[in-house]
Symmetry: C2
Subunit: 370 residues, 2 copies
């Protein structure tokens, strides 16, 4: 066994935006030390028996950072393969560099696994090309400070504002309005296009666009949490290039009850339409818990046996209560019969149709009438 | 079948630095349209029967770009799943935005799959954290122009040089010296630290560091091809954080002759030491061709049957010529006997040792005496 530390960027948010290399390092990990902004599903890539340690927000007070460095080193000294996971890229306005330097000083071998930065991933998912001919020849990434104590003046705002091109800054709720105001004060036009992206690349992604002046007002009035600010003409492309958050089932959560007679392609068809899909056969999935926590917008049944399997797993007497806030979708008379016999009513039903037609019917249910 | 175009960033170079999502999109692809700077191994992620189309350098003459857009659209209109692959990120100083806009105008569905930018990946593999406390609060990514016709003055050099922080620019051989000179002329100190990284993240990675003035002279005298220029104090961390190009077998290519009696862990052990490893059982690998093209620095045998398999596959009478420029490494008396019987001599031999000891012996063979 060789002890090693992989310093890994998990990418901008969506679990599948980690690199293949990061994924393979995680598969070998015996210890995973992660910032809590890393998506829970990324942790699933590590073996079930791997130790998982949440070291919090990594917001940067020096003693907390020291403690993290010591923890990583300690686990490596036990001869373990350690995966140190951070959101985005570990070296872009994060503490990856400090951790690597500490490991070097301690003589512990490490490898650096870069990740897709939030500024790159969130813009792609918002339909904003981070550069475009005519949109300037520079992209400036700016450190965001959550820490109010840190002075803002270390940035040369005149040069930042004067450079043109795209500016990207991942900032906290208090800093966001200040950042926008400073850019305007130092010469970026108040009517320049900008966007604020919250939870970029995730099903909960929200994107606000407007002029700098409009966004300054809006984020001051209604703080949005940590968000990516994008300033520049490229933002205007969003109206044409939206693809992620414009899909019919974007932000909807579907539970697919799988059955032996039917292929589970319905999961893929719903994912193509933007839904976040879980299948009851997923490892470790607790259907009861998922419904109890109201984390399902639609549950699909494509056979009688899928219905019977569902009733068996949640308890037939609980089904009606559990489904009170969830749309039931059935395909074919057998599934509908079984649902009706359980005193439930499908909100979406196709008696006779293909799986794609069924997926379309579900998408139609959630699409507001024009 | 649904027609769709995935605009995918393949990442900075190494085939495993593509995202998991990019990898999965490729696995579904029926047509792969790629820039030739994409690593050949990335194309292997697509199904064997997928059509593969090289559309060249993407250096940006408008009619070539139009032709690429039409080609992508045509394949999608045939009802195909199209993967459009670019190196780095498709939207960072590349034509991804234009291609997406064209698809939008044509009513063809597309999804954007971001990639790790070269500036992020190559720095991590060079041991340069792209930011560090005290290294500035901005990273400015600058478009490089291969095209001599395009005027340089669109950049506001005073603001670029004045901003401080890290500057990263992927530039061609003619532009690189000009870029450095312009930065000095507009106020970056001539003795500021900088690095030039060629073939970042690949086994052929080369990194030069020095002051801006030193690098300006060196790249003017000896052009290096397209390269990433990094300017800023963060470059100084490389001496401590090198991990990729400092490994004993970095840049060495090993061929592992696999045998049934022995596990092929030797491949992993050599990879950990930085070697680029191929195993004779890899799909489509042509051992004869590989040796004929002198693409192997060391070939390993850990059993007699591995030797016999090798002789059978290349022809016993060819073996000596083919191995003239390759070190033969044998583990155990049986492998050595079989090699000797074929009138070959191992350059590296351990009669009695573990696989890790064997890997160490190979690493030692390639490590220059101090």
């Amino acid at each position: 066994m060789r002890a090693i530390v992989y310093l890994i960027g998990a990418g901008p948010g969506a679990p599948d935006l980690i690199t293949l290399r990061g994924y393979r390092c995680l598969q070998q990990a015996e210890v995973v030390i992660y910032d809590h902004r890393v998506h829970a599903d990324v942790l699933q890539y590590a073996p079930a028996q791997a130790e998982r340690i949440d070291v919090g927000g990594g917001s940067g007070d020096a003693s907390a950072q020291d403690a993290i460095c010591f923890l990583i080193a300690e686990k490596a000294r036990e001869g373990k393969i350690v995966a140190r996971l951070k959101r985005g890229d570990p070296f872009l306005f994060d503490h990856g560099g400090e951790e690597a330097l500490f490991l070097h000083e301690q003589g512990i071998p490490f490898e650096l696994v870069p990740g897709v930065p939030t500024a790159i991933g969130a813009t792609a998912y918002a339909g904003i090309p981070i550069t475009y001919p005519g949109g300037g020849d520079t992209v400036t990434l700016v450190r965001g400070f959550e820490d109010d104590g840190r002075e803002r003046t270390r940035l040369n705002w005149d040069h930042l504002a004067g450079l043109g091109g795209t500016i990207a800054c991942f900032a906290g709720p208090r800093q966001l309005p200040r950042m926008i105001e400073a850019l305007i004060a130092h010469g970026r036009p108040a009517d320049e296009s900008a966007a604020v992206i919250v939870n970029g690349t995730l099903p909960s992604q929200r994107t606000m666009t407007g002029t700098l002046a409009e966004l300054a007002e809006s984020v001051a009035e209604q703080p949005v949490g940590a968000a990516l600010l994008i300033v520049g003409r490229v933002v205007n492309f969003r109206e044409h290039l939206r693809w992620f958050d414009s899909r019919a089932l974007f932000g909807r959560r579907a539970l697919v009850m799988h059955s032996k007679e039917q292929p589970d392609d319905i999961a893929t068809l719903l994912e193509h339409r933007g839904a976040e899909v879980k299948v009851d056969t997923d490892a470790g999935l607790d259907v009861y818990r998922l419904l109890l926590d109201r984390k399902v917008d639609v549950v699909t049944f494509t056979s009688a046996s899928a219905v019977l399997g569902f009733l068996a797993s949640v308890g037939a007497d609980q089904a009606s209560d559990l489904l009170a806030h969830t749309a039931v979708a059935t395909l074919g008379p057998a599934a509908a019969d079984a649902i009706t016999r359980a005193n439930l009513t499908p909100a979406i039903h196709l008696d006779n149709g293909s799986l794609p037609a069924f997926a379309e019917a579900i998408a139609g249910h959630f699409t507001p009438a024009p």
